[in-house]
Every structure is written in C-alpha cells, then in structure tokens.
Symmetry: C2
Subunit: 104 residues, 2 copies
Amino acid sequence: MRRDIFQAIADPTRRAIITLIALQAMTPNAIAENFNTTRQSVSKHLRILTECELVKQEQQGREIYYSLEVEKIKEVDQWVNQFRKIWETRFNQLDDVLSTLKKG
Amino acid sequence: MRRDIFQAIADPTRRAIITLIALQAMTPNAIAENFNTTRQSVSKHLRILTECELVKQEQQGREIYYSLEVEKIKEVDQWVNQFRKIWETRFNQLDDVLSTLKKG
DNA sequence: TACATTTGCAACCATTCGGTTTCGCAAAGT
DNA sequence: ACTTTGCGAAACCGAATGGTTGCAAATGTA
C-alpha cells in the first residue's frame, strides 16, 4: 500500500486535519471533536498521514499528540514549481503585449 | 460527482498527463502512446481533468487537442502558501538560534 | 485491585476508482 | 459508397477508499 503525499491531501477531511494541527499538536479525540465524524475515522486518516510522513506523533502518558511535518509539504510546492515557470512566462508575454500596445 | 483539483492530481498517471501537455496540446492517442495503458483509460483521465477545469479541449477535425489550464494549478499553490508562512517562520527562528550561537 | 479513559487495530460494508471491453458516431481517406 | 481512424460513453470488474462497530492494550484514578 504505497502512500504518497498527493493521495494523502486528496481527501478534504485530511486537508482539514492538516490545517488544524499545523500550529499546535492535538490528540485524536480533540481533532475528532472538530469534525462530523468518529474518532476511529480520524484515527484512520492520521495513520495515512503518518505513513507518508506528513504528520508525526508524540506520546504523553496515554495521550498521543499529532503534529504537522510542515517541511513535507515542500514536495507539493516543488511539483507546483514546474508550472509556476510556465504561468510566469505567460504573464511576461502578456506584459510584452501590453507594453507594445502602450508604445504603439 | 464533485471533482476538485486535489483529487485530480492524486493519481500519478494524471500528474504525468498534466506534465506531458503542459507545453503543447496533444490528442488522446498521442498521450496514450506515452503510457502503458489504453486510449480509453487516458480518455477517462482527461474527462476528470476537464471536469475540474485543469485541462481544456480544442476540436480540430476529428481530432481533439487537450492542453493544460496552467492557471488552475495556482489553487494548489495557494493551499501550500498557508504552510509556506510556517516553514519560513521556523527557518527564521533557526536563523536566530544560529546567529545567537555565533555571537555567544 | 477495580474501573474509566485514550488509543490503535481488525473486521466488515457500501461506495468509488482505475482499467478493459464493447459499442456507436463523426471525420477523413480510398 | 466503403473502410479506416479518432473519439467519447456505457457496461463491467477487481481493488482501494472512507466509514462504522467491536475489541484489546496501555495509562491514569478511586
């Protein structure tokens, strides 16, 4: 069962979880309270997020705090980057057209 | 059947298609030749990509050329952006630690 | 010790997904 | 007129997905 980050962020609940724990670590119960679903369901999502290293866990007594491995999201950024060049080039071309119109 | 861009880019074949047609429009047959799959399968992927407006089509005779709507990828960039702030902040904090060590 | 809380995990289920096969239609070639 | 080519859509299939339920393990508390 190969997990990759793109599959992980495909699910809207998982994206919401990521946003939720981006700033502070939270327990599965606390996370589940923010959604219209069960703790077990959240637990499954956390497992997937952990498998692809988007999330790390820290045990404290009987509670487990989950937090975001924010650096991992850079992988998505890098993928987007190859297209950024394209849309910036097109913008520059538009810019050229506009300045040509201005001069003409 | 609600399509969103995150679900669209979750599939590796679809990401490959996106990269393939990023620079030049291609027909389904031409795209399929680049993969280990059938034209019909590619056609299904193209349908999904079109549904969420990642791809546009242009009919030329009996051929249909598909090309990337590169601006749409900005939506992913915007999602990543909320986390970019976090990892840049952490980098600055690390920077502070390093400069403090240097001074000390 | 006895009991409650927090959690992960396995089993199960309905739905969705990705792929193949088949079909029908329209455009182009002979 | 007939065949070939390029295409989308529908039917079908095995696998994966997301969710629920039930249970066991570990920790904290009376």
